[in-house]
Point group: C2
Chain length 212, copies 2
């Protein structure tokens, strides 16, 4: 089973690594990172580099495609990158599962995928899905056919575990959860716009994502 995780300049690290850590233990998995060119790819805040082992032109097939999100200014570059979008379409055409975290679903939508499907993205980007003809939902993990999309950044862990359960069964997914000790105990309860202080939510709705 080939798992391809897409990288591009300005991706968000946890969007990629959450699914990586949960999906890569799948039996028989061959997990790799892929970008337009192989080599280090810098993230949204410029202080982290993950290495793409393969270039897009080297990869013609994957069983699971994972598209992480990134800060809006970097997403806006890729939604105009025809080579990048054509590669997403080509892999999706043969994938068993096509998945995204955060604004990765905006990239899938820009590639013409997810049309008329239910999907999710970062809570600050819901209107971008609707503008692409995709039905946005406030759920953390949304499955519609072979598409599984996750909300912001950290939700890729929940998406990965959900997908592992679908593919390898509940017992295997529980083993992955236990070994990654995923028994979350956040010190605050501010992880969604429904739970965070209203003033904080209003501030980000007005100002958008902060500069990193």
């Amino acid at each position: 089973m080939r798992i391809a995780i897409v990288l591009y300049p300005g991706f968000t690290a946890l969007d990629a690594v959450g699914p990586y850590e949960t999906l890569s233990p799948l039996p028989g998995a061959e997990t790799f990172f892929v970008a337009e060119e192989p080599g280090p790819v810098v993230n949204d805040s410029g202080s982290l580099m993950l290495v793409a082992q393969k270039s897009m032109s080297q990869v013609e097939q994957a069983d699971i495609l994972v598209v992480p999100g990134g800060m809006p200014e970097y997403i806006d570059v890729q939604v105009k990158n025809e080579f990048f979008l054509a590669w997403l379409r080509a892999i999706d055409a043969v994938s068993t599962w096509t998945t995204s975290v955060c604004m990765g679903s905006v990239l899938l939508g820009a590639a013409g995928l997810l049309k008329d499907r239910r999907a999710t993205t970062h809570w600050l980007a819901m209107d971008r899905l609707a503008a692409l003809g995709i039905e946005p939902t406030g759920e953390r993990v949304v499955a519609d056919g072979k598409y599984m999309t996750a909300a912001g950044v950290s939700s890729g862990i929940d998406m990965g575990l959900t997908l592992v359960g679908r593919i390898a069964g509940e017992g295997f997914a529980q083993a992955v959860q236990l070994l990654t000790e995923y028994d979350p105990q956040p010190p605050y309860d501010a992880g969604s716009p429904a739970k965070a202080p209203a003033a904080l939510v209003a501030k980000f709705r007005e100002e958008g994502f902060p500069q990193r």
Copy 2:
């Protein structure tokens, strides 16, 4: 504020990236990855590389030191690596906070740090802390003086948010939680030995970590 995240061959990716994603938004943070030599460092399953921007000999100071864990066979290499351990001691001597995720606390202990302090690690490695004269606890995030240690893999996110709250206040930490949409909804409730199916826990206690 300088945040140094240590890499070594066989580190666990999410151990490093969970704290990275939560700590790096701190006001004035300069976050970097450091290893014995600069360049790509391969993780525990061999399919992910993060880039160390700096070598240990280039780094003499950090305000926050983050030590991720790794699979036992790789931890066992570093606990005999005197250069690596001496560097941990030297940075700890000047750090404001020294932190770890998973078996990173075993590395701190091997460097002679955490002596007689309360700390935590992956649930499968508790005996290794005790053997180093460190008091193991089953809590997910343990603060003792300037040391903050976290349990297995995913717990680094909770540790990062806890530390952000201590440094920059509750409101700032809540903003980080909201922007990373950390509102965990695991599809199973098997993330700790107290919650997972007993047979699964017994299997790993008998067999140890699975080969990756």
